[in-house]
């Protein structure tokens, strides 16, 4: 039962509130990823869980115990920092052993644990080295070693991979995933890299401006974003969005924009809403490319086609805004060369309220 529960967690620096009441329940053994743009309060939230920042309001429970006023060391959490926070004057083994030594564990236990962690993380050959003599990836692993050696109830990660180059990051990402499978510890992971979020998370928490925008599994968020923010934040390239007005059509609602029409799915929330302003969201992957003669064609001004081997990115414009399409190349090169627009199935179009940015209810894409 080593879950973490946040209820109405608030952080204020003097009069400035930066986290505005967060509710989040992290279940035991769950891997939860906090994502959001820079400055949205991810680190602050994580640091409140670690006990490095005071909680201004709300209740934080770890393992069923309220820990708002409990010192970090008694919360039984371990944290991995972005810049590793390794002690430069200690070698790898001593760095890993630091937390155990502080807790006055027995010598044998420390030696055993360091050896085991060294094995798990492939650090055995480097145990005698100082951090300065390690590569970035190795340092990262030592930082992880320091965390796992204590067998804490909860792991906290604050952008642990952002100092690594792209290739190493992919590798370490897989390693973290593997480690989590093996140790099964409750983990809260902060990143602003959406690929890390998508690949690592059991559930993703999307934050912006100190608030939670949506919580859900990676695919839920990808397929059914609750609002334009989440829709635009997850997915790469991001979801295309443009303004449109609802009119009634023969087979249900139709969106009108720039003199073009596009069929929408039948939604209760769109009944009798002629003239309603909406935002349409279309994933770059969900459209079919089409040439001039296709029925229900949405016309685009195509700027550029990037062929990346098995797939291609089509950069175009719709009403002056960029519109990107991602599609397979196999068997489609003819169409691609003559592309003038796209077609899309109505249920794949997300409809958001133009004012609030919230997705209209009733649009659920099954995984």
């Amino acid at each position: 039962m080593s879950g973490v529960n946040l209820e109405g967690i608030v952080k204020a620096y003097g009069p400035i509130q930066v986290v505005h009441g967060i509710d989040l329940e992290v279940k035991e053994k769950e891997f939860v990823v906090l994502v959001g743009p820079s400055g949205c309060g991810k680190s602050t939230t994580l640091r409140m869980i670690a006990g490095l920042e005071e909680i201004s309001d709300g209740a934080l429970t770890i393992d069923g115990r309220m820990v708002n006023r409990v010192a970090p060391k008694d919360r039984d959490v371990a944290m991995v920092f972005q810049n590793y926070a390794l002690y430069p004057h200690l070698n790898v083994a001593d760095n890993i052993a630091f937390g155990l030594r502080i807790r006055k564990e027995s010598k044998e236990h420390i030696a055993e644990s360091v050896e085991e962690v060294g094995n798990i993380l492939g650090l055995t050959p480097y145990l005698e080295r100082r951090p300065a003599d390690l590569s970035g990836g190795q340092r990262q692993r030592v930082a992880m070693g320091r965390a796992i050696v204590r067998r804490p109830k909860v792991f906290l990660f604050d952008e642990p991979l952002s100092n690594l180059d792209a290739k190493l990051r992919t590798q370490m990402r897989a390693e973290i995933k593997r480690l989590h499978k093996r140790l099964g510890a409750t983990s809260i992971y902060v990143t602003h890299d959406q690929i890390e979020a998508m690949t690592l998370a059991d559930r993703i928490v999307v934050m912006s401006d100190g608030r939670i925008e949506q919580i859900g599994s990676p695919m839920e968020l990808f397929l059914n974003p609750a609002n334009t923010f989440v829709a635009g934040f997850l997915g790469s390239p991001p979801m295309n969005m443009f303004d449109a007005t609802i009119t009634a059509g023969e087979q249900g609602p139709v969106a009108e924009f720039d003199g073009q029409r596009i069929q929408l799915q039948k939604l209760e929330s769109l009944a009798n809403s002629e003239g309603r302003k909406v935002k349409l969201g279309i994933r770059p992957e969900f459209v079919s490319v089409a040439d001039q003669d296709a029925p229900n064609l949405v016309k685009l001004d195509v700027d550029l086609i990037e062929t990346l081997g098995s797939e291609a990115l089509i950069h175009a414009h719709l009403m002056g805004d960029p519109f990107v399409i991602r599609t397979n190349t196999v068997g489609q090169m003819n169409i691609l060369n003559g592309i003038s627009g796209f077609t899309i199935e109505p249920h794949l179009i997300k409809v958001f309220d133009a004012e609030t940015g919230q997705a209209l209810p009733g649009q659920v894409l099954e995984q």
Partner: protein, 331 residues
């Protein structure tokens, strides 16, 4: 390569001077290279000039006079005209009880200074670092820095007043407990503690700035990480702060050892009196009395030269040891 070719190459390269120097550097002779370098970097040398002149005038030119340590110097015949005397003055020096006493005192006072005076600023810096209230911290720091900015003469005056047998605060307080007044400054056994203590009071605060700067350079995440690991403030001081500033401590120690024989000469002159010569007279005050007051310039120069050679050996040794064992060194 013919002359014309060289000239041609020069002309062709002229639009890109940086490129030119890079390409032709290897062809130039050593002297040419130095001239080339001076031409490019002359501004830096102009900046350096005042210091070089200062060194030449005040440190190198006087070295010419050092030769009188090996001469039978007479003011009338001048430095060059005086006859050589070989090591005679050094023999006299080591046969002189007063010099040997001064040497012993120098070593003892420096040693006390090192043992008690060196750790003080480090301890102060560590303590300042633990103060959380910024107002209190700033005030405390200012108060501790203050004595550094007071002239030695005034400091000596304060010390003399404080230890005065009639009105001094020390004797007054002792009087409350029924202790008879002590004539501290005339007692040889009290001179060294008072002198070393004064030095600490005067300089420890100011010297702590170096360590505070070093502490400020330690990454805060090291402490955060330690906090999550469960370290107490005491453990963080021992296991993070101290090891992190160890290189600074070592550098300061080397410098300190190099200056070890440079006991604060003016302070001794101000505080000692014939009654305390026994423990207070150091090489520098000995030189002062013999050379300046007694007119034995050649003899005093020999004493001074000996002092300098010992200091040189000390710095070299300290630096070498440190380089070998801690990878930290001055050069």
């Amino acid at each position: 390569m013919t002359m014309e070719n060289e000239a041609g190459a020069e002309a062709a390269n002229r639009p890109a001077p940086a490129d030119r120097t890079a390409r032709n550097y290897g062809d130039l002779s050593r002297v040419e290279r130095i001239i080339e370098h001076l031409k490019r970097e002359w501004q830096l040398y102009v900046l350096l000039l005042p210091t070089i002149v200062w060194l030449l005038v005040f440190l190198y030119k006087p070295m010419y006079g050092l030769q009188i340590a090996f001469k039978d110097y007479s003011v009338f015949r001048g430095v060059a005209g005086s006859p050589w005397a070989g090591l005679e003055h050094f023999y006299t020096l080591f046969g002189n009880d007063q010099f040997l006493r001064a040497l012993k005192n120098t070593v003892i006072i420096s040693f006390y200074g090192l043992i008690f005076g060196f750790p003080m600023p480090i301890i102060l810096a560590l303590m300042f670092n633990e103060i959380l209230n910024q107002m209190f911290k700033k005030t405390a720091q200012t108060i501790v820095y203050l004595p550094h900015f007071i002239s030695s003469v005034i400091i000596a005056g304060i010390v003399m007043t404080a230890f005065s047998p009639s009105a001094g605060i020390v004797n007054t307080v002792m009087g409350w407990f029924g202790v008879d007044p002590v004539y501290f400054l005339t007692k040889p056994e009290w001179f060294r503690p008072i002198f070393v203590g004064t030095g600490i009071w005067q300089e420890a605060g100011f010297q702590s700035i170096v360590y505070l700067a070093a502490i400020a350079g330690v990454s805060p995440t090291l402490y955060e990480s330690a906090v999550v690991d469960g370290a107490s403030r005491w453990q963080m001081m021992w296991k993070i702060t101290l090891p992190s500033i160890l290189p600074t401590i070592i550098i300061m120690l080397i410098i300190r050892i190099g200056n070890m024989l440079e006991v604060s000469f003016e302070m001794i002159i101000l505080l000692y009196q014939p009654a305390t010569y026994q423990t207070a007279d150091v090489v520098n005050t000995f030189i002062y009395r013999q050379g300046i007051q007694g007119g034995q310039y050649d003899f005093a120069a020999a004493a001074g030269l000996f002092n300098a050679v010992v200091a040189f050996v000390l710095v070299m040794t300290a630096n070498t040891i440190s380089k070998r064992y801690s990878r930290t060194s001055l050069w």
